[in-house]
């Protein structure tokens, strides 16, 4: 059971770095408030001509008259007890964000699916056919992927698929008539509800593809290089000597090649979340990213902070899960 003890120690150590990171994240999010314009209360009350009494009330309500550490504790207390109230919409920020989160989740989940199911096979193919046309195409795809402005690609594809071909819809967001996880895409799969599933895919496939595009080529290149690295390790010679069939050999190689790919896929998730504001804006999807941008327009800084905090928390949690699964798969990381 030495193995389990090792794993436990790793998890403990990983948790030790996780907690300070989360606390640091809340500090940094709060720092956003610290650089705010001199008097947000006046803005929230309606600008320069606002009634001074109203401004004073808002200032007291949001503790803007208190010292900075007290403001921080107030923010954290409200974040934990779901009491952050937007001074602009007067809604609870977490509830507003929760309503928009499913859109962003569907977008990122679908994009992630595209990356995995297009990127990895492309990478393997280009490693097996090294220096072929496919290899060349993957290389160009990777380069273009990191060079193309997402919004530009989005408009080009809208022009082709919406204006010219009429294959996609750009209005509305499909909802499921039932809630299990709250994300229609997953709910419809659980319920085997083909109609809702079709609607979701119809609305989301193009935005997700645009979001995934930047990463598909990068992941494919990574899989290719990692695959070639694994192919040149000693165990492959042993497999050859034993005379295993070709596909069994490649299966072994693939298993070894996937180790670094998993880490990068975890990081890619952050890239997808970061890309959400632009994609959601172009395609008119009411997700968290777009909501953040709108909140900036209305000087709704508490919503902005809440949204940034939410996205960062999702991202650190995903990375934690990736690290843990990584430690379970590959004993070498548990140093």
């Amino acid at each position: 059971m030495l193995w389990l003890a090792d794993l436990k120690r790793f998890l403990f150590r990983r948790a030790l770095t996780f907690i300070p990171t989360v606390i640091g994240v809340t500090f940094l999010v709060f720092f956003i408030a610290a650089v705010l314009p001199a008097d947000p209360a006046k803005l929230w009350a309606g600008g320069e001509k606002a009634n001074p009494q109203v401004v004073e009330n808002i200032r007291r309500e949001y503790r803007l008259d208190r010292p900075i550490w007290e403001q921080y504790l107030f923010f954290i207390k409200n974040a934990v007890t779901n009491q952050i109230v937007s001074p602009v919409s007067h809604n609870k920020v977490w509830e507003d964000l929760a309503r928009r989160l499913p859109v962003t989740m569907q977008l990122t989940i679908l994009a992630f699916t595209f990356i995995v199911f297009i990127g990895i096979p492309l990478g393997i193919l280009s490693a097996l056919k090294r220096d072929s046309i496919i290899d060349m195409i993957v290389r160009i795809l990777a380069l273009l992927g990191v060079s193309t402005p997402v919004f530009w690609l989005a408009y080009l594809l809208i022009f082709v698929f919406f204006t010219r071909l009429g294959w996609i819809t750009l209005a509305g967001t499909p909802i499921a008539p039932y809630t299990i996880t709250g994300i229609p895409l997953i709910d419809s799969i659980i319920k085997l509800d083909l109609e809702t599933f079709r609607q979701v895919i119809e609305r989301y496939w193009l935005p997700s593809l645009v979001l995934a595009y930047a990463n598909i080529g990068v992941i494919a290149r990574l899989v290719r290089n990692s695959f070639l690295d694994a192919l040149s390790s000693d165990f492959v010679e042993f497999i050859d000597a034993r005379g295993l069939p070709r596909y069994r050999k490649y299966l072994h190689v693939l298993k070894n090649a996937m180790v670094p790919v998993i880490t990068v896929l975890g990081l890619t998730f952050g890239g997808l979340l970061a890309g959400a504001p632009i994609t959601e804006t172009v395609f008119g999807l009411p997700g968290v990213g777009r909501y953040l941008i709108d909140s900036i327009r209305f000087y709704d800084y508490l919503t902005l902070m809440g949204g940034v905090l939410l996205i960062a928390l999702i991202y650190v949690t995903v990375n934690l899960l990736v690290d843990i699964s990584y430690a379970i798969i590959d004993p070498r990381v548990r140093y």
Partner: protein, 388 residues
């Protein structure tokens, strides 16, 4: 290496240009700090070899020409632009409103444009069309190159410097300092980059504009750098906020990477030797360790230069950063999207310009990675030098 030996391999014209530039540069430095050239002979030679190899890689050359073209446009664009970036030509010719590429407008003698704005009367062809104010898209794209380049240079001067310095200290010192710096890095990396940049470019402008009013020279220098008219001084705060936001976002990656490289480099005997003879820490870091990890860092710098241009365009597309009438590629798309797909040129051309500029940096970075990779380095060296 003596000069006869170097003549053995065939030199392309580009190699000769490299030679001339580097030799003159080296002599110039030598004049300020005597003995520099002889001391760094090997390093200069190695750097030349890298550039020779770049000259022989077609993607690298393509990237190089794209980047040189982009920088050239950014430098001279504002002077060769047919119109100013904010010239609303609709005031003089109704046809300028959302004029498609290639349409012609007429500036009449005695009109507002000729009398007040000093445009010579006559016919003008708007090769890339115009926007809803009749502002010439071609001119705005030329000016936009300047905006992109200046933002990218500003970000790349300080961001990586912070990261590299912290990474050097963290990796070399170890212990508590290392732990603190790395936890700090973790916090910044916990945010998907663009999200943090969005938040900070949204809240910073007020503070920055306060800073600009208290330091007028800063404002006038920035105006000249961005090639803006004095009346648009108010928009500077937003542009500079993006720069600061990207500083905040762009250092942690470097800190982490550099720390990792230092950890393996500091165990080398030459570092130990330097320490033994009492070389001060900063000198060990910057003279003994940094030059030896510069290759991979150079690749990151090149790739990130493109990355900053892309992210800046993305931010201004979201309405952050540049404010109209400032010419900025992302912002032109943001404002033009309202008329999409009717006025497709307002989306297509600025986006294409961004793509080409960023692609240039990525192509160079990609080739440099191959050239500087120690595994393939000697192979390339032989290929460049040819048979003796």
């Amino acid at each position: 290496m003596s000069s006869e030996e170097r003549e053995v391999y065939e030199k392309k014209i580009l190699d000769k240009i490299v030679d001339i530039i580097l030799d003159n540069l080296a002599s110039a430095i030598d004049r300020v700090r005597p003995g520099w050239k002889t001391r760094n002979e090997a390093r200069i030679e190695e750097f030349k070899l890298t550039l020779y190899a770049l000259n022989r890689s077609p993607p690298g050359l393509l990237g190089l020409s794209l980047v040189v073209f982009f920088i050239l446009i950014a430098l001279i664009g504002p002077y060769i632009a047919p119109f100013s970036y904010d010239m609303p030509l609709v005031l003089c010719d109704q046809r300028a409103y959302l004029a498609p590429p290639g349409s012609t407008i007429t500036i009449r003698d005695g009109s507002l444009c000729s009398d007040v704005y000093g445009i010579k009367p006559g016919n003008y062809t708007l090769i890339l069309g115009a926007d809803d104010f009749g502002r010439d898209l071609f001119s705005r794209i030329l000016y936009g190159a300047r905006t992109s380049l200046v933002v990218a240079v500003m970000v790349m001067v300080l961001g990586p410097l912070i990261g590299i310095t912290l990474g050097l200290i963290s990796g070399y010192r170890g212990g508590v300092i290392d732990e603190v710096i790395m936890r700090l890095t973790d916090v910044f990396i916990a945010f998907p980059g663009l999200i943090l940049a969005i938040a900070f470019s949204a809240v910073l402008p007020d503070r920055v504009s306060g800073l600009l009013t208290s330091f007028p020279p800063l404002a006038s220098i920035s105006l000249a750098l961005f090639s803006l008219k004095p009346e648009h001084v108010g928009s500077l705060a937003n542009l500079l906020s993006v720069v600061i936001a990207l500083w905040i976002v762009w250092w942690p990656g470097y800190a982490r990477v550099v720390r990792g490289m230092v950890l393996s480099t500091r165990e080398n005997v030459y570092v130990e030797a330097a320490r033994a003879i009492g070389v001060p820490t900063y000198a060990i870091l910057f003279r003994h360790i940094l030059p030896n990890i510069l290759g991979p860092i150079l690749v990151f710098l090149t790739l990130d230069f493109g990355g900053v241009i892309l992210v800046e365009a993305g931010l201004s597309f979201l309405g952050l950063g540049a404010v109209p009438p400032i010419a900025d590629w992302g912002r032109i798309v943001y404002d033009g999207a309202e008329y999409f797909p009717r006025a497709w040129w307002l989306v297509f051309f600025p986006g294409l310009a961004t793509l080409l500029a960023v692609l240039g940096f990525n192509l160079i970075g990609d080739s440099l990675r191959d050239i500087l990779d120690p595994k393939t380095r000697r192979k390339i060296e032989f290929k460049v030098k040819g048979r003796r």
